[in-house]
Symmetry: C2
Subunit: 326 residues, 2 copies
């Protein structure tokens, strides 16, 4: 089986690649595990190939048709489409967000349609498709009302994937991811970047700025569970998805104050005291429009799950990243 | 004030043009009536100019940027975007539907953005944005789940218009129209074409095929009320629309059996007997996915309304079209 990951050089892309290479197989549309013979890691920058012969690294612009034709052929049976412009950047640069989050997603679907073999295609979407007046718990049938260009672009990509699936051009599925926390590495241009930063930087002995109020409620998922969900999501039987290809993934609903309390419990007062509170209206507006929780019964029935507490998430991060608490 | 109607040669476009010319004014963003100095009727075929000097007729392909630049300038302060590929045709010709219902709508918004004057832009949308498992009465916060490419394209155009409005590129509003009945003229490629045909053809002394079961519930609005709503919708103050620019228009919820009974009441047994029942699975699938009723409290609070009964709609049609019952 030939597998493609777009955004293959990114944090989730690399972690997903490692997990797929370790597993060695992925279920096909009949539910039969197939050996992964080629894993294409495609991104705008060069991805790490882990020195694995099964990996083919491709670099290029995902909004170019000829580039997509190079990375998707009639043998590409499973596609994880992770490439995206994050929320803060898509708000700052409207044209770039439209080009990558909308045009490239459509071009990817269109390339699959032209190939004619209806591959499995997984899109990731986001809490940012919701906004405006929201119920405390967002239901599966709650209307989307994005309050950012990123959210609008993701919502449009969902509609496209649903229609391309309904018409049989692809066998698509969308996972709406909670905000991923704790991401290792550096802050990024996502409005939610602080949701990792306020744990990661203090654990690293550094100060971290928290740009939102402590009462702000977030809907979080760990990288471990995100990767597990991406693979399980791609392997889901199309029949159980029916006419609605979008799934809200399970997560943990926590306030920022509760996140800080969990950090204090796990790593102590000294670490938690490294958080600096400096409200930023631009970030608060975007993050405040996102739901703090959604109904995940459908995803749970399909076997997907999150951690039980944010303290567990922090412990998993410390373990994965081999962190020494100072 | 310079006004543009795309789809200006169509049935609603022509009727809207006549009404605007008769009124002579349209409210601006301050709620002040402004004299309509130019009304551009733009379509892929030549629109009737009614011999009125205020009318400028433009013919061209709405998916071409240079054409949109010809019909939208920095003085075009009000745009009614009615041009569309109807549901049945968008399902039969996917690429054409995408080109007109999605690409042209986006290009129109983009042209406005480039002009930089944030004109008022009204899009029409449809019951077809809904689908799948629906409550008996669709709420304002019910999720969209289109089951046709037309519905998906309209839902995407809604999201684009919302985001372009949020960013201040246009002052947009979307009216989700019920199925318009009774349309004069000929059947068209819309899956809902029969909703006019089963009244129009019998009143014209001709047989009409009804492709759906009598129990099928439709959500209807007369052309009179549709035109009234389009003008009121464009004149709505942006402040009352807030972060959600989409309005579900009031309509009448009737089953096809009730439509036939109303026709019998108004025009007699001989006329109603001209309906021939011939179920068509393709049409039933599309029409059956649409809601039979939605919550219209928001639109009603803003002063929009429908007729009280379908019999009233038929009487209005007979009056407007000066029909002699035979």
């Amino acid at each position: 089986m030939k597998v493609l990951i777009t955004g293959g050089a990114g944090f989730l892309g690399q972690r997903l690649a490692r997990e797929l290479l370790a597993r060695g197989t992925l279920k096909d549309a009949n539910g039969t595990p197939q050996t992964i013979t080629e894993l294409v890691l495609f991104d705008v920058v060069r991805a790490d190939d882990f020195g694995d012969r099964r990996v083919r690294v491709e670099v290029g612009d995902i909004a170019e048709h000829s580039v997509l034709e190079r990375v998707i052929d009639a043998q590409t049976s499973s596609i994880f489409h992770l490439a995206a412009i994050v929320s803060g950047q898509a708000e700052a640069d409207f044209d770039l967000g439209m080009r990558i989050n909308l045009d490239a997603a459509r071009l990817l679907l269109e390339t699959c349609r032209q190939r004619g073999h209806a591959p499995r295609v997984l899109f990731t979407s986001s809490v940012a498709v919701y906004g405006g007046d929201l119920p405390d718990v967002v239901r599966n049938d709650t209307a989307l009302n994005p309050q950012s260009s990123y959210g609008a672009q993701k919502a449009i990509a969902e509609l496209l994937l649903n229609d391309y699936s309904r018409r049989g051009f692809v066998d698509g599925r969308v996972l709406r991811l909670p905000t991923i926390s704790v991401r290792p590495g550096k802050p990024n241009a996502a409005a939610s970047s602080f949701a990792s930063g306020i744990v990661r930087e203090p654990l690293n002995g550094e100060a971290a700025i928290c740009p939102v109020a402590g009462s702000t409620r977030l809907w979080l998922l760990s990288p471990r569970k995100a990767i597990e969900s991406l693979i399980a999501g791609l392997e889901l039987d199309a029949g159980v998805l029916g006419n609605q290809r979008v799934l809200n993934l399970p997560g943990i609903s926590v306030s920022v104050d509760e996140m800080v309390a969990a950090l204090r419990d796990v790593a102590g007062d000294t670490v938690a005291a490294r958080i600096v509170w400096a409200p930023d209206a631009r970030v608060e507006k975007i993050v405040g429009s996102w739901p703090g929780r959604w109904d995940t019964s459908r995803a749970e029935q399909l076997g997907l799950s999150a951690e039980r507490s944010f303290a567990d998430v922090i412990r998993g991060y410390i373990e994965d990243e081999r962190i020494q608490i100072r």
